[in-house]
């Protein structure tokens, strides 16, 4: 019996070792992705406007569109994506372990995450800030009146740190109730367990619809943090990093150049400006430099659309205006490096 156990252990050990070897010193993410034929994309467990699945399991949202854009760039097919819903807590481990290829899950770019977690942020696809929602009946008009409040939020996010900093800086006390999933945060806040619900303002707008009486709650005017949200990849694979970064840049540049999913087809036949020609692959060799087809950006725009199209389809219905997320030329801070 003892021998049998030992043998089983040995076999198990050997198996683990061999799988670890297979994963370990593998080749580039692009080669792995091409081999399996799709991109594994880490998204949220349901945040309307950013990444949310409908009843039949179709994912939509601004973050989802980014993964679709990368798929369009790599495969010429924006549907070559599989989505992994992740809690805030699981997301970095899932990316670091190779379970997903891109993390596109309303993730805040901070220095700690960029430098200590072995990850790289490939850009910013939404400029957000942390806000607070309170029941109107509380009679509070400023976050500075919240001394002694009970506050509900998610674990494993920057919101826990920001709210702590904000209350400490203002010499106020509070009690934090931190849940693993956003649905429970909303349910607990809705039942009255907390006076305040805090998360990114985009999240507040998205989750508000889940409350029993959305109109009897208000978002306070204070924005207590900078939350640049963007896609994340593993550190150490520059090629993949570039593909994700430039897929996002292509969407933003397309908006700036006025190229949409509706008119991108026409660029093939008509004369276009040099900038547009480079974007859609009529000029230059930009796709090959990324290890992709020269029509990479063309495919993104045709199948997914430019940034404005994605924003209007997903985020505008939440009642969130473009604001700082407008193009730099329209008074916002959205500014993509040029393709040249």
């Amino acid at each position: 019996m003892k021998k049998l156990t030992l043998a089983a252990l040995g076999v198990a050990g050997a198996m683990i070792a061999s799988t670890a070897m297979a994963d370990g010193h593998g080749n580039s993410t692009l080669a792995q992705v091409k081999e399996k034929g799709f991109i594994q994309c880490g998204v949220s467990q349901g945040l309307p406007g950013f990444s949310n699945a409908d009843d039949s399991g179709n994912w939509t949202g601004l973050d989802v569109d980014l993964c679709r854009a990368v798929a369009a760039a790599v495969f010429g097919d924006s549907d070559a994506v599989k989505f992994t819903p992740l809690s805030a807590k699981q997301r970095f481990t899932a990316l670091a372990s190779g379970e997903i290829d891109i993390l596109s899950r309303n993730t805040t770019w901070t220095m700690t995450r960029d430098t200590q977690l072995g990850l790289n942020f490939a850009g910013v696809n939404y400029y957000d800030g942390q806000g607070m929602m309170v029941p109107t009946a509380l009679g509070v008009t400023s976050a500075l009146e919240l001394d002694g409040a009970n506050i509900c939020t998610n674990t494993g996010t920057t919101t826990e740190l920001n709210i702590t900093d904000f209350f400490r800086a203002n010499g106020m006390s509070f009690n934090l109730v931190a849940f693993e999933k956003a649905d429970e945060v909303v349910a607990a806040y809705d039942s009255g367990r907390c006076d305040v619900y805090t998360t990114d303002r985009s999240g507040l707008a998205a989750q508000r619809g889940k409350l029993t009486a959305p109109d009897s709650h208000m978002v306070l005017s204070e924005i207590i943090s900078k939350e640049p949200l963007g896609p994340v990849v593993r550190q150490g694979d520059d090629q993949w990093f570039n593909i994700v970064r430039w897929s996002l840049n292509a969407m933003i540049n397309a908006e700036e150049l006025g190229i949409t999913s509706a008119n991108v087809n026409a660029t093939e036949f008509n004369d276009v400006s040099p900038s547009v020609a480079r974007l859609v692959g009529k000029e230059g060799n930009f796709g090959a430099e990324l290890g992709l087809d020269n029509k990479w950006a063309y495919n993104i725009i045709r199948q997914v659309g430019n940034y404005a199209e994605s924003y209007e389809a997903n985020v505008t219905p939440l009642g969130l205006a473009r604001g700082v997320n407008a193009l730099w030329s329209d008074g916002g801070i959205l500014y993509a490096a040029p393709i040249r």
């Binding site: 030992l6 076999v11 970095f92 200590q116 109730v177 931190a178 849940f179």
Partner: protein, 403 residues
Amino acid sequence: MSNSSLTSLIYDARLRGYVFQFLILALIVFGVWSLVDNTVTNLAERGKTVGFGFLTANAGFQISDTLGTWAMDYSVGESTYLDVYFIGIINTFLVAILGIVGATFLGFTIGIMRLSRNFIIRSFATVYIELLRNLPLLLQLFFWYFAVLRALPSKREKIDIIPDFISVNITGLYLPAPVVESGFIYSVIALGVALVMTFIMKRWAEKRQLETGQRFPVFWAACGVLLLLPLAIFAMTGSPLEWTFPEFKTDGPMLRRGFQSGTGMVLVPEMMAVWLALTLYTAAFIAEIVRAGILAINKGQTEASYSIGLKPGLTLRLVIIPQALRVIIPPLTSQYLNLTKNSSLAVAIAYPELVSVFAGTALNQVGKEIEMIFMMMMVYLTFSLATAAFMNWFNARVKLIER
């Protein structure tokens, strides 16, 4: 000749045994080595280092008020990640121990109820067991948490259980909190002395009963000693224990109404829901174990006990349970271990136990997955092994010594 000696070598059981054992050992060593090597290489490739230096860094996040934060005197920006680790451990152990105590009492009661001759009692126990043990624990956790939350009055209202002493609302159960003053330690020492005295008295009474057949009211004497001695010392040292009562405000700004933080003691609803769910769920399993243990005792034991004039209650207590325990204790130990591990589900409803604060919030700030998950596993392993060791010792003590 040489051929036959080779054959005999192959069929030599001892030699064959050594060869296979060596092969397996080599496989294991290789497996472990490649696992470690791979991990270190992969981490290095991603620019991550291995080490426990993060434990002394300051934790910049707030943690919900619980026994752990109180015991570690947690304050944001001063406490370290090591403190967070201990807060997680304390909170995990708190629900584990409370759950084990609750589930044991409830489980024994339901198990015995299931054997009752009364139809209603028996049916109730059956329904309880089948309902509770066949629903996933996480679902029950959510049910109790949100059921408890919805049932309680809002933060600005309260239900008094004992007016001015114990009241409850959605933010928790509020109790008076003891404030220990100097000199209280003598009362604690007195309690220890009383415990030792009780133990000696019990030994003496047993010995006397064996020798003379006379019984001594050990239970009442023990109660007397355990209560009177510490109370007398407590009174003599000038009652060195104050109580602070929860303060409830009904005026002022809306936000500040309700219970004032820092007054009295509060048990948060998250903890009560976890405790409730773990207790009710595990009790269903324990009840079946208890029933099995009792049914394992031959009917002749009951009949023999009745025939010497013992009543049903005494029969259960003096004859059946002691014999049933040897059947009950090994699977009971498994249930205790399950309960402890199941407490990690509490992360779902915001109870700040180990998985939530350490492997959740702290892990996300620090990003040392391997070290932190390892530290967490060690806690569960240590607690489980300690429980198992204690229960094995207890089992060895109570098991039937057959003559």
